[in-house]
Symmetry: C2
Subunit: 371 residues, 2 copies
């Protein structure tokens, strides 16, 4: 298992305490206390070609206590660290919104001016802490938004209070198992039996395939991120890939669908500080593709007009180095730009509802996917 | 159990066939075939004060085949009915997007001009069918969007292929059971043991309460619609109320939170044609309320500024007859308008994360809720 497997709550508690102890030591020895974190600005985001994902470069940022421009941010960062330390010790979780209210509540009593007036002030500081201490917000007991559903031959052991509950992902009916925001702490995946994992952009198509028993017939794991994948879903896909399970992504052939795929594969600019933990460079793109129009004639009457956003985004993607080097992707993007047409995964239901599964089967059988 | 309990797939198949047979009969006897449906325009939406929900009035609309202005819509409606009949016979489900593509596919072959160019053309016609035949789209095998999660002492028997799977909603860990879009067909709720059901606007607060084991300690059913409640979640709340379980709703004290509550309680203008099936007039509003500011002093420093939308919406709500008659609601709305402040449910985490559950407990103990 790659990523921060060892970085559990205990690890983050130790890191928060050593941050605090360092500051106390600095103050006692008359030094200017400071907090150092990796710079998350655009110019410090690099595509790691060797490993195939976006990560931060070497540039760092410092928050000094004795610096008029930085002392407020320094204090805010330490206040956040103190709250997270409390949450970890209490073994209770909240969201960054809950954290914001705790800060507003407790600082409001002693300090005349509210230290945080808007949550937009506290959010980037949490990312500072994540990057600076090399912990995830999940390990600071901060839940991120969750989204995404899974079905397949796999069992989840999840903590609930003092017991571990067993959730059989092959016995969740039409619902599927809802992927939590944290898939690293107090949770285990056992009996994972699958030839491959298919990630389906839209919940509607997931339901279609689930109703057909697709994952059961194929011995596959069927995931939908329900649009752009949340952190928990990206981490889970990474973990499945670590188990040697091939990952196939199935989205619309449009700007949004491609963005979903590339985010799963290479990570995203926003989460570049998490690098390889939320990226799955092994993932392959199964479709729908513009070249499906040559393979499946009926799709030609089911295209939609590409929007301005689609066309602009396609043009932009052509400038990315990790896309430029793939002939297949360049061909896809150029075909959309030229034809001004796009294709949705839902269109595969045109001839018959069950065609969607046949399409995936055929693609996988013929190894017909994009890098 | 109220609502369309008898209106299963079989029932909708019979209704679709009798619609078709009626049209064939009309044509054979030289009559002008027509389709009659309840008018869904604003002027035909009434608040049923006796029952406490929004429903359609008596006015109807006709689509005539021999009428230049209506014949296209007539043909489109029949095409949709034919597709739904096929889905019901095949026992396969899709979405209205999938239906749209099937129409585009099959009509494109025989007819020169595409009958449906945009999905916006087919959506209102599906509602025509629902209202005209008195069936739900779920019974026409069309899945609506799903959203919403549940935990509690309750077992779901859900069909998956040929078997019924048993899902224990008390053993779903941090995930909860994902509420499907259809909670009426091929699904059963057994061993429902709960003193009450609490519906929590935000997933973040649901997770907070779930982590505390709130539903277990209280023997409650804990639902989050994850924002505005989807059709499936509204139907499920209605079904729980039918079992005699009191329903309490817990949202932000702002325009959006109030809208979520009133939609659960009285139904919505968009779904007025479904009337009492998606409304739970028995529901009570637990908070957060503007008057909580008098009861919990700390909340006064955790208010946020009301937005223009909040203030406008509050003013609008004061004009609704079903709100006007409640002194408590008028007081709430006027207090927001006067103070220009609002309050979020997340703010209850200010003093300590576990306060949220204590707040609900105290409210229920003191029967401190709004009608």
């Amino acid at each position: 298992m790659s990523g921060k497997e060892g970085k559990d709550d205990e690890g983050s508690r130790v890191k928060l305490e050593s941050l605090a102890n360092g500051i106390i030591k600095d103050i006692k020895s008359g030094k200017n206390p400071k907090f150092v974190t990796a710079a998350r600005k655009r110019s410090n985001i690099v595509f790691d070609a060797k490993n195939g994902y976006l990560r931060l470069g070497k540039s760092v940022e410092e928050r000094d206590f004795i610096n008029v421009a930085q002392s407020k941010r320094f204090m805010q960062t330490i206040a956040i660290a103190a709250k997270c330390h409390k949450f970890v010790k209490e073994n209770l979780h909240t969201t960054i919104r809950g954290l914001f209210y705790q800060l507003k509540y407790s600082l409001g009593e002693d300090v005349d001016e509210n230290i945080f007036n808007e949550q937009s002030e506290s959010n980037p500081l949490i990312e500072d802490l994540e990057a600076g201490l090399d912990v995830t917000r999940e390990n600071l007991n901060l839940n991120a938004n969750r989204k995404g559903v899974l079905a397949g031959n796999m069992t989840v052991l999840d903590r609930f209070g003092d017991e571990m509950v067993e959730i059989d992902c092959s016995k969740q009916g039409r619902s599927g198992w809802a992927i939590p925001s944290d898939v690293d702490n107090d949770i285990k995946f056992v009996n994972v039996k699958a030839k491959y994992c298919i990630v389906v952009e839209k919940d509607a198509l997931w339901q279609r395939l689930n109703e057909d028993g697709f994952w059961k017939k194929e011995n596959a794991i069927l995931i939908t991120p329900q649009g752009q994948a949340a952190r928990g879903t990206r981490r889970l896909i990474r973990k499945l890939a670590d188990l040697g399970i091939p990952i196939y992504v199935f989205t619309d052939s449009d700007a949004w669908g491609w963005y979903i795929y590339w985010t799963i594969k290479t990570g995203s600019i926003n989460l570049a500080y998490m690098g390889g933990e939320v990226a799955t460079p092994e993932a392959r793109f199964i479709g729908v593709t513009m070249s499906d129009l040559d393979k499946y004639d009926f799709l030609n009457k089911l295209t939609m007009n590409a929007s301005e956003v689609d066309l602009k985004r396609a043009q932009e993607m052509l400038s990315y180095e990790w896309i430029k080097r793939s002939k297949e992707w360049v061909r896809e993007l150029e075909r959309m730009i030229k034809s001004k047409k796009k294709l949705e995964q839902d269109a595969l239901q045109g001839p018959r509802l069950t065609f969607v599964g046949d399409y995936i089967r055929e693609k996988i059988k013929n190894k017909d996917f994009l890098p």
